[in-house]
């Protein structure tokens, strides 16, 4: 929950045009595999590391580059006492078969965390470098960190040409207190390395 509600910085838009949407690849992690004690990401910091438990690994999620994760939304829910965000991430599985079915079944019944790469890499809202831009902190956005992502919708249209008869799934996190949480370690290079290391079980 967000306890501090007083602003401590202003907003200053970046001169660079933000790029909409996500890159075509991300990493999905079983929420139960995350070592929350060793991770530094939290709602207060807004950014930090994501560390997995011994022997656990993340799994790559690849989409077609055009409009990857298309239709994903973040919506504010106005409550009586506390406002929260509902985050919907759409994933298209453009294949059919026993392996795809196995993945779909696990996503449909699972509780996951998804790290997606924003096409916008710079953040203008926290001007710490004196120029109104906090560089390279916006790329890796983490969904499901607070409440987990759970399947909320699924459609398979075998004759649809656009999805090649694949399955569209919506993974939803409800009740998230933070508008956004980001994987970030020290600098851009370290963050890229940390992101890649999520794919190696150790």
């Amino acid at each position: 929950m967000i306890c501090e509600t007083l602003l401590s910085a202003g907003y200053n838009p970046s001169c660079q045009a933000p790029q909409r949407g996500f890159e075509a690849d991300g990493i999905i992690i079983n929420r139960s595999d995350i070592d929350f004690a060793a991770s530094t990401l939290n709602v207060t910091n807004g950014k930090g590391s994501v560390v997995l438990k011994n022997g656990k690994t993340g799994y790559p999620v690849k989409q077609t580059p055009r409009n990857a994760f298309d239709g994903s939304t973040m919506e504010l829910n106005v409550g009586t006492y506390v406002n929260t965000w509902t985050k919907n991430i759409n994933i298209l599985l453009m294949s059919v078969g026993p392996d795809t079915t196995d993945i779909v079944n696990k996503l449909v019944n699972g509780d996951t965390v998804l790290i997606l790469r924003n096409r916008t890499k710079e953040d203008a809202a926290w001007p710490v470098d004196g120029q109104g831009v906090n560089p390279k902190e916006s790329e890796y956005e983490v969904f499901g960190w607070e409440q987990g992502l759970k399947a909320s919708a699924g459609t398979r249209t075998p004759n649809d040409e656009d999805t090649m008869g694949g399955t569209q799934l919506t993974l939803t996190e409800t009740g998230a207190s933070s508008h956004g949480l980001f994987l970030f370690v020290t600098d851009k290079a370290a963050t890229d390395t940390a992101y890649q290391s999520l794919l190696n079980a150790n």
Partner: protein, 133 residues
């Protein structure tokens, strides 16, 4: 000492043991056989010579790596501005020595490791002897 890449290459080949090896795999096996065992793998046309070579390599690697190396958990890296000038360490370049040094500076961050570096026995012995004196 075997590099982590070499160990991973042998592990990967062993994981695919029940499948026929591709031509790229065969080239890799030949190379690893030469690098690790110092012998040349001769293609005698036998059906299982590449699979036999992988068994030989896997056994050698298993014996050579019985001593566990410091290993970071998935997602964990060492990237601290005050440690080694901010150099980034991952499992591909982490050594036991660096891990020990890091843990000496930041003991609370042992939670980043799935395998802690082995303690320096020789250093301990020396310090024990010094204490006795």
């Amino acid at each position: 000492m075997l590099s982590r890449e070499t160990i991973e290459a042998v592990t990967g080949l062993k994981a695919r043991f029940n499948q026929p090896y591709s031509s790229a795999d065969r080239e890799l096996i030949k190379e690893l056989y030469h690098v690790i065992l110092g012998k040349t793998l001769r293609n005698t046309g036998c059906q299982n010579c590449y699979h036999d070579a992988v068994i030989e390599l896997a056994l050698f690697v298993r014996n050579a790596t019985k001593k566990e190396m410091a290993t970071l958990k998935a997602g964990a890296i060492i990237a601290c501005p005050t440690f080694h000038g901010g150099q980034i360490y991952t499992n591909s370049n982490l050594t036991d020595e660096v891990a020990r040094e890091y843990l000496a500076a930041f003991p609370k961050r042992s939670d980043l490791f799935s395998i802690l570096p082995p303690k320096q026995k020789r250093a301990k012995k020396v310090s024990n002897e010094e204490t006795k004196e």
